[in-house]
Amino acid sequence: MNSLKPNSQTPSMERPVEEEKSVAPVIRLFHVTKRYGAQTALTDVSLDVRKNEFVFLTGPSGAGKSTLLRLLYMAETASEGQILIEGKNLKRVPRRKIPYLRRTMGIVFQDFKLIPALTAYENVALVLEAAGQQPEYIDKKVRHLLRMVGLEGKERSLPPSLSGGEQQRVAVARAMCGEPRIVLADEPTGSLDTESAEVVLSLLSDFHSRGGTVLVATHDAKLIAQANKRVVHLKGGQITGDGGGVAS
C-alpha cells in the first residue's frame, strides 16, 4: 500500500526526472457508476491511467467528465465500482485521511477556485501551510512557482485584480506546489483566451515532462489537437472511445 503522504519520489518542479513509463496504472476505475438520485452521471466506466501519462477526457457537456474527476479527488463517492489511486482503494480511505490523499494531487478548476481575500502568494502558500511546511521552505517554493508561471511581481495581487489567465496560472502554481504526483484539471482553459489557454497547457505539459501524471477534462478540441495526447471520449456517462489523436 502506498502512503498517502508525499514522499521523496514526488515529481519535483525543480528536479526534472527522466521520462519513465511504468506499466502500473496510477489511476484505475473498475466498472464505476455514479448516480444522483434517479439520474445516472456515469455508467460502468473502467479506465486505467498509467504513471506519467497525459490523458484528455473529452465529450459534450453532461458527458460525466467533471463527475469522473470529482470521484478521483473524493468530492463524491462512486455508487458502484472501485477506484484506485496509486493502488489505494478510495472506498477504504477514511474521511480523516482524505486531506492527505488530496495532497498527492493537484487540482485545477475552470473557475480557478482562488480565495479572493488572499493574495496570489497566499493562495499558493495555503497548500504548503496546510501540509505543515516550514515558512522558509514555503517562501522559497511559492516564489519559485510564481516566477515559473510568469507571475513574478504579482505576489501581492488579489485574485480579482488579476486577469482570467493570470488567475488560472496562480491556480496551476497552487496545484503544483505540493509536489503532487497527479494533476487533475477540470476545463482548465474553459474561461480563458487562446493565448492564456496555451500558457496553461504548456505548464501542464511541463509538469508531465517532469514525470507527473495529468488528467484533463475538456471539450476544447483545439487544445486536444495541439497537445496530441491520449484522448478518452465520454458520452452519456459512458466511455465511447479511447486512443491518441484529435477529439471528435
Binding site: I107, I115, E129, A131
Partner: protein, 294 residues
C-alpha cells in the same frame, strides 16, 4: 500545532469580519456584565451577613448548687468543645441585673419576685461556620452533654434562616450562570455560523487543497475563544468602574454599618475569564457541528 500561525489567521479573520465580531463581543460583554453584577452583589451580601453574624452567642444554663469548683470544671470542659471561642460566667444575680436593665422602665415587674428564678449560666461565643446550622447544632449538642449544663440556647431560628438565604442565593447564582453561559454560547455560535456562511467557498477550497479539518477550524476556535475572553475582560472593566463609582461615590460604610463592599476576588475573576474563553470555543464548536458541509 502552530499556534502563532493560526493566531495570525484568526486575527486576520477578525479584521475581515470586524463588525460581526464586535457585535458578538459587545453582546457577550453585556451578558457578562449582568452575570458579574449578580456575582458582585451575591459575594458582598454574603460577606455582609457573615460579618454581622460571625459569632453566635450561646447560653448554657447550669443546674443549681454546683459550687465554685463545679462551675470551674464546667468552664474548662466548655472551653474544650470544638467551635467555642470564649466562655464567660454569668451568675444568676448578674443575669437578674441584666434582665432588669433590658426591661428598662418596666423593671418594677421584677420587684414582686420572692426569689431570683434565673439559673447560673455560661455565655459562650461559638464560630457560626458560615451559617452552617447543622454544625452549630452539633456544637450545641456537645455543650448540652457537659455534666451540669441543663439547657442550651443559641438562636437556631435565625441561623436556619441565614443558612437558607445563603443556599438560595447559591442556587440562584448557579441557575443564572448556566442561563448566561447558554446565552453566550448561542451568541458566539451564531456569529461564527454567519462567518462560516460568508466563507463557505473559501473553506471548500481549503478542503480541496488538502487542508485538514483541524487546520480549517483552528482559527475559528481561536476567534470564538477570543470573543469570549475579550467580552468578559470588557465586562470586568465595566464592573470595576461601576464598583469604584458606587463605593467611592457613596458612603457605603455609613449605610452598611461599617461594611465596605469589595470587588470580585481573583478566585471568581480568573475562573470567569477561563469560562468565557471556553464558552466562546464551545459556540464555535457547535457552529461547526451544525455546519458540517460548509
Amino acid at each position: 500545532m502552530r499556534l502563532r500561525f493560526h493566531f495570525r489567521r484568526a486575527v486576520r479573520d477578525i479584521r475581515a469580519n470586524a463588525f460581526l465580531h464586535t457585535l458578538a463581543v459587545v453582546t457577550i460583554c453585556l451578558v457578562f456584565v449582568l452575570a458579574g453584577s449578580f456575582a458582585l452583589v451575591f459575594v458582598n451580601v454574603r460577606e455582609l451577613i457573615r460579618s454581622q453574624h460571625e459569632n453566635v452567642r450561646v447560653m448554657a444554663y447550669l443546674a443549681p448548687g454546683l459550687g465554685k469548683d463545679g462551675q470551674a470544671r464546667i468552664a474548662r470542659e466548655l472551653g474544650r468543645v470544638p467551635g467555642v471561642r470564649s466562655v464567660s460566667f454569668i451568675s444568676r444575680d448578674q443575669a437578674l441585673e441584666i434582665l432588669a436593665a433590658e426591661l428598662d422602665g418596666q423593671a418594677d415587674l421584677l420587684k414582686g419576685l420572692k426569689s431570683n428564678p434565673l439559673p447560673d449560666a455560661f455565655e459562650l461565643v461559638a464560630d457560626a461556620r458560615e451559617g452552617d446550622s447543622e454544625a452549630m447544632a452539633e456544637t450545641a449538642t456537645r455543650i448540652q452533654a457537659v455534666p451540669g449544663v441543663t439547657e442550651v440556647n443559641y438562636g437556631q431560628a435565625w441561623l436556619d434562616r441565614f443558612a437558607f438565604f445563603i443556599e438560595l442565593s447559591r442556587m440562584i447564582a448557579i441557575a443564572l450562570a448556566c442561563l448566561l453561559v447558554v446565552a453566550s454560547v448561542s451568541i458566539t455560535s451564531n456569529t461564527i455560523r454567519l462567518v462560516l456562511y460568508n466563507r463557505r467557498a473559501e473553506i471548500h477550497v481549503m478542503r480541496l487543497v488538502g487542508a485538514t479539518e483541524m487546520f480549517i477550524r483552528a482559527p475559528f476556535y481561536m476567534e470564538g475563544a477570543l470573543q469570549g475572553l475579550v467580552g468578559s475582560v470588557l465586562a470586568l472593566g465595566i464592573l470595576f468602574a461601576g464598583y469604584e463609582g458606587v463605593v467611592k461615590g457613596a458612603d457605603t460604610g455609613f449605610f452598611l454599618g461599617g461594611f465596605t463592599p469589595s470587588f470580585l476576588p481573583l478566585s471568581v475573576c480568573a475562573p470567569g475569564l477561563l469560562v468565557s474563553a471556553f464558552v466562546g470555543w464551545m459556540g464555535c464548536y457547535l457552529s461547526f457541528r451544525q455546519f458540517k458541509d460548509v
